[in-house]
């Protein structure tokens, strides 16, 4: 890892390590504040005959019990409006909220939950993608993105393979579970503090559900204890529940889920089941790919159709496929509505093609690394949706990592090791990413920022970006600080609030720093331009015309910058310089104020030049791509199936990072989070659709020993991305998908066992599946 010591630490790092950083449940209790919780269904599919709260209402600590009929509008959805906030006629998954409870104590909430009586008529649930396909339980229609003549190309291909890859879901396991507090204000206004990636959606949803106008609701997000996509859409309903109580009782209302409830109520990463047929030549060059992707959307649409679209757009991943047809269909099942999760649909498309390449390699007895290098996109080639690859970064990354990871020597050594067939089998694999940056829905790619410069030379910045640990606030502070050449610590990024930044997009799609950082940069530059003009005017006058006393006396004409041309000044370490002339930034700011020049600016940014026609599946959906490669080596115990990641070499193309320490953290964290999904994180459901692994005692995210024993991360030094914020590239999601290399390495290891049956491996590759596969039982 590169040294990160010289760069700016996370802007909340002091608060994090000292326990002073405030999260929702750390807010002081206000007088009369009540506790809120939700009562949810224990049945996956049923008609509701009645919800009886009579006994629960008699409990002294209980203040109110609210159901669907208490909402003005009881339907929501980020794309389609199809989900009730509180189920009223039918429950469609285990964990679906039915009743909102408010009580004076937390013990009162527990008692009330036990006293609520439900009368349900159970219906047959749909609990798998296969069942949904058989019963045609779909969300929206089938989409297709295609190029060329795939059937003809398959028919004439020298080799063909077909198969199905099953990819399970993943729980976000953000450490801070869903949480919010609603404060009732005068004239029916609500101020809501939420752990949400999407304050504007919270504002709109709360207003609609409570029958308020948008201007009566303010949503504030200071920070989240992790989001990962799980608080993009799904923080919304909880905010409604708290706000509803606040509205009814006229008391502050706090809803903080426990982890067990959070994991049962909220949606996960969408499970996928991808059916494919691929044609290739003797050298392993892929000629055609025909794929049908199915995802499990859960009970309601949520963001699943957009997730599917991204999966389809990433089914090529880093590889040029001349003839290709990708179809995508979201299935409806009786599980929690699945939702955004770091990578969105990306990894589900990428996994399929990376898995196919492993199988091609085994079929042809050619090293999978060679197959990848034969198929990698070259500059000027077009993707199946018509976007041109503008650089040669991907082939370069493959070349570099092959050498820096010592791939070929290690391959020889591993082959020899596996031939000895001792206690362990080892596997080695490379995978790549080409991740498109932008929301594929064009209108979401916009952001605003407000910069206020204060008289002491410090600045406050407000944007629509929400801080969930990814360091977006730190990057924005650095960008603004650089404009004025002041320390980043003199720029404070304020809590995200819908009263300062309106109609914001979710902090998602890895675009938070790009969009909001650019908007903040533009706003700061506006102010610098004004200050430069003031400086020029000040330098042009005798120094006796400066100062508060002179301005107060009104003896000197006011500087009017509207009449002055744009000038360039050097802002350097708190000074503003023009040749021999020099003024301290602080004094200049005062002069600007005294001459009635605005020291605040709002600006706006949108990714230019993007478009995507969802009907034809063609366009330029992405502003640019973030690329990367990783080589991982695993060792599996032939007796127990236990897998260890011995080494991972990650090489990322991140342009010129704004903050290397933060970007390094994003790469490491995303990779390890992805590894968990690939290996130990096992969502296990009862035969009736209830999640049984709903806490960390059974749902195992990676721990400190699980990271690669030897973990090497490097940034591609020759990377440039002049079109984006200060040459940087988005980093939030992409590295997660490099963890696919761990999964393909496990497959590679299994394939070297004489009885190994790795071709049926699914995600996650649990210890049990590995052991069964080693014994030819999978």
């Amino acid at each position: 890892m590169k040294s990160t010591k010289s760069v700016t630490p996370h802007d909340s790092s002091h608060g994090h390590v000292s326990g002073q950083a405030e999260y929702i449940d750390d807010r002081l209790f206000t007088a009369g504040e009540v506790f809120v919780d939700v009562y949810y269904s224990a049945v996956a599919h049923a008609r509701i005959r009645s919800v009886d709260c009579t006994e629960a209402a008699k409990i002294p600590e209980v203040l109110c019990l609210l159901t669907a009929k208490d909402l003005k509008v009881n339907v929501w959805g980020s794309i389609f409006h199809d989900q009730p906030l509180l189920a009223d006629e039918v429950v469609r998954y285990v964990g679906e909220p039915l009743v909102v409870i408010a009580a004076k104590t937390r013990e009162g909430l527990l008692k009330a939950k036990k006293a609520i009586r439900l009368d349900l008529q159970e219906l047959e649930p749909v609990l798998s993608i296969d069942q949904a396909i058989a019963q045609k339980q779909f969300i929206a229609g089938t989409r297709t993105i295609a190029r060329g003549d795939v059937d003809q190309a398959l028919a004439s291909a020298p080799h063909r393979l077909s198969g199905v890859i099953k990819i399970a879901g993943q729980d976000h396991f953000y450490l801070e579970s869903q949480a919010c507090i609603a404060y009732p204000k005068e004239e029916d206004q609500i101020e809501i503090h939420a752990s949400s990636q999407h304050p504007s959606e919270v504002q709109h949803l709360v207003a609609e559900a409570l029958g308020l106008k948008f201007h009566q609701v303010v949503c504030i997000v200071k920070r989240m204890g992790g989001g990962f996509g799980g608080k993009e859409s799904q923080a919304g309903p909880f905010a409604v529940y708290a706000a509803l109580v606040a509205q009814k009782l006229k008391r502050p209302a706090r809803l903080v889920l426990g982890k067990d409830d959070d994991m049962q109520i909220t949606g996960k990463r969408n499970p996928f089941q991808n059916h494919y047929e691929v044609g290739f030549d003797d050298q392993g060059k892929i000629l055609a790919l025909k794929a049908q992707l199915y995802s499990d959307g859960g009970a309601y649409a949520d963001l699943s159709t957009a997730i599917m679209e991204r999966a389809m757009l990433h089914s090529d991943n880093a590889y040029y496929i001349p003839h290709i047809e990708v179809k995508g269909q979201v299935c409806r099942t009786n599980t929690a509505s699945n939702t955004a999760f770091r990578g969105f649909g990306g990894p589900k498309g990428m996994l399929m093609i990376e898995n196919i390449i492993e199988d091609i390699a085994r079929t042809l007895s050619i090293d999978a690394f060679d197959i990848r290098q034969k198929n990698v996109y070259q500059k000027g080639q077009k993707t199946h949706y018509g976007q041109t690859i503008e650089d040669d970064v991907l082939p370069e990354l493959f070349k570099k990592v092959r050498q820096s990871s010592d791939y070929d020597n290690r391959r020889k050594e591993i082959t020899a090791h596996n031939r000895r067939g001792e206690k362990t089998y080892r596997g080695l694999s490379v995978t790549a990413i080409k991740f498109g940056i932008s929301f594929t829905t064009r209108f979401l790619n916009q952001a605003s920022a407000l910069v206020n410069v204060h008289m002491d030379g410090t600045a406050q910045v407000s944007t629509g970006a929400t801080e969930m640990g990814q360091g977006v606030n730190t990057k924005i502070a650095q960008v603004v600080a650089e404009v004025f050449s002041i320390p980043a610590s003199d720029v404070r990024v304020m809590p995200t609030s819908t009263e300062k930044n309106h109609n914001t997009s979710a902090t998602a799609a890895s675009s938070g720093s790009d969009l909001n950082g650019q908007a903040a940069l533009k706003a700061a530059l506006q102010i610098r331009e004004r200050l430069s003009k003031v400086a020029k005017a000040v330098f042009d006058r005798p120094s006796s015309s400066r100062g508060r006393a002179v301005a107060g006396a009104g003896t000197v004409p006011e500087i009017d910058i509207s009449t002055l041309p744009v000038v360039e000044m050097l802002f350097q370490d708190g000074q503003v310089i023009d040749g021999p002339n020099k003024i301290s930034l602080r004094e200049l700011i005062e002069e600007a104020y005294l001459n009635r020049v605005s020291l605040g600016a709002m600006d706006f940014y949108r990714y230019p030049g993007i478009h995507f026609n969802k009907e034809t599946g063609q366009g330029q959906p992405f502003f640019y791509f973030t690329n990367g490669v990783a080589v991982s080596e695993v060792s599996i115990d032939r007796f127990t199936g236990e897998a260890k990641v011995l080494r991972s070499d990650v090489l990322m193309d991140l342009g010129r990072p704004t903050n290397e320490g933060i970007d390094m953290g994003q790469v490491l964290g995303a990779f390890v989070q992805g590894m968990g999904w690939m290996t130990t994180e096992n969502l296990f459901y009862s035969g009736k659709g209830a999640l049984l692994t709903y806490s960390p005692s059974t749902y195992k995210i990676p721990s400190v020993h699980d990271i690669p024993r030897d973990f090497r991360v490097d940034f591609w030094p020759r990377s440039t991305n002049e079109k984006n914020l200060k040459g940087s590239k988005a980093v939030g999601e992409p590295p997660l998908m490099l963890s696919i290399s761990v999964w393909t390495a496990i497959k590679n290891a299994i394939s070297s066992h004489p009885q190994g049956s790795g071709q049926n491996m699914s995600v996650p590759a649990t210890q049990e599946k590995i052991l069964l596969a080693l014994n030819g039982l999978l």
Partner: protein, 479 residues
């Protein structure tokens, strides 16, 4: 007879928090430590995520009172979310708010800042506390030690490497031991007084002698004895356990025995897993190694060995180990003392061979003979801090290359931890080699009865039971 007289009884608990003395009675005494910190003291730096001791966000430092040694332990880490407040009677506690001095971060905190050790920050206070534990009294640490010290802390953002780097970047010369700032000054006289605390319909009883404890248990069969609360605290938080009568044995000095006499080890009911590990570290390395992958430091610092055994779970991880060592269980009850073999303690799923009023007081076992081959296995979805799918202990002795003693014990393959007595018999007199498994394979399959659940299928468990012994025999085959 009740030797505890009224003058020797108090109705409040006492402990020190960040150097300040707290005396607590009433509802708060029945709360968990984390609730007390967050809701009574506004010390919200301590976070609660899982409320089951799996994530470590709630980690604080604690120096508990030891009535046998008449002093506090050193400061060690603890999961405050599952620590019942009354169990901390006599302890000194330090939370994350107690680390910085006059706003100046301590060295561990500074290093975390320098090395980007936090991202979303929610797990960070817990990591800071676990690292504080690691650096108490250590002048140098290895990467492995750092990792072992952090198995009880989950982070979803950083990928852990920045935290490891922060730990390795700590300048140990700048680390001040907590005791220098928060001296361990518990009131020994107070700790000789029994505790009897009542609130509404609930009560906490902590006697200073075994007779009173048994007497109370006999008269109040519904009483729940809390020791480390590493399991009961979880059940309490999940609403599955709402006792009205709580008992703690933390004032009974003889239960703190943790000793080796000649070749016998004797472990009292209040001996924590960490203390047990320290005791056997040199003499029985196989147990030491095994305890490194069992539970987390926070859990081992609170949970007791006897608690793990008395819990009766078929996947308790120390039970197979202790059964392979032919451990004897000392029980104290209304009829006085008796002993039984651990293998005879379990009558069925979580059903113990105990009479009304009886309390397990000590475990005793011999150091394995010099030539014994002893190995313990734990198979779980994740290597660290995970409940086992299957665990196993094998202890073999040989003479002239033939097996003279065999202990083959499995957990997770039936309703109780099980010694495979028939398989053991088949092994006696055979050479210890890889081929032996072919004779034992089918008998193992016949003697165990695993089920399928979230941790694994019956098929997987059968395969593991066979493979673990195969692995053991292969690795220890004698020429």
């Amino acid at each position: 007879m009740n030797p505890t007289t009224t003058e020797q009884i108090r109705d409040y608990i006492e402990f020190w928090l960040n150097g300040i003395r707290h005396q607590v009675k009433g509802a708060a005494a029945f709360a968990t430590l984390s609730d007390y910190l967050r809701y009574e003291c506004q010390l919200t730096g301590t976070k609660v995520v899982c409320a089951e001791g799996d994530c470590g966000a709630c980690t604080v430092m604690s120096a508990r009172w030891n009535p046998l040694l008449q002093k506090n332990s050193s400061y060690i880490s603890l999961n405050s979310c599952i620590a019942m407040l009354f169990l901390l009677d006599g302890a000194h506690l330090v939370t994350v708010e107690g680390l910085a001095e006059d706003g100046k971060l301590c060295e561990v905190q500074s290093s975390m800042v320098r090395n980007f050790g936090g991202q979303c920050g929610f797990c960070t206070p817990g990591f800071v506390m676990s690292l504080t534990d690691l650096f108490e009294n250590k002048s140098e640490v290895t990467k492995k030690q750092v990792q072992n010290s952090l198995t009880g802390n989950l982070c979803r953002c950083t990928g852990y490497l920045p935290i490891l780097q922060a730990a390795l970047d700590v300048n140990t010369k700048k680390v001040k031991p907590l005791a220098s700032r928060y001296p361990l000054t518990s009131d020994a006289a107070l700790m000789t007084k029994a505790l009897h605390l009542r609130f509404e319909d609930k009560e906490i009883f902590a006697p200073t002698d075994l007779e009173s404890a048994c007497d109370y248990k006999l008269k109040n069969p519904e009483v729940v004895i809390f020791s480390g609360a590493t399991d009961l605290g979880v059940q309490f938080n999940k609403g599955k356990l709402r006792p009205r009568k709580f008992m703690s044995l933390h004032l009974i000095s003889e239960l703190f025995t943790c000793a080796k006499t000649q070749n016998e080890f004797i472990i009292g009911a209040k001996t924590t897993l960490a203390e047990f590990q320290k005791l056997v570290q040199k003499d029985i390395p196989a147990v030491d190694e095994f305890l490194n992958i069992f539970a987390s430091p926070q859990i081992k610092n609170a949970g007791t060995l006897i608690g793990n055994v008395a819990n009766g779970s078929p996947i308790a991880d120390t039970t197979p180990v202790l059964m392979a060592l032919d451990t004897e269980v000392d029980v104290f009850g209304p009829q006085g003392k008796r002993s039984l073999l651990l293998k005879d303690l379990y009558l069925g799923y979580r059903k113990l061979n105990l009479q009304p009023g009886e309390i397990i007081t000590h475990l005793r076992f011999q150091k394995p003979s010099a030539g014994a081959i002893f190995k313990n296995f734990k198979i779980s979805q994740r290597r660290d801090l995970d409940i086992s799918c299957v665990n196993a202990s094998f202890l073999f002795e040989t003479k002239n290359n033939l097996i003279t003693k065999a202990r083959i014990v499995y957990g997770g393959v039936g309703p109780v931890t099980q010694r495979l007595l028939q398989v053991e018999q088949l092994a006696i007199g055979q050479p210890l080699d890889a081929q032996l498994i072919s004779r034992l394979k089918n008998p193992i399959r016949a003697e165990i009865h695993p089920i399928s659940d979230a941790r694994g299928t019956a098929q997987f468990r059968h395969l593991l039971a066979e493979n673990l012994l195969t692995k053991f025999l292969q690795e220890n085959a004698q020429p």
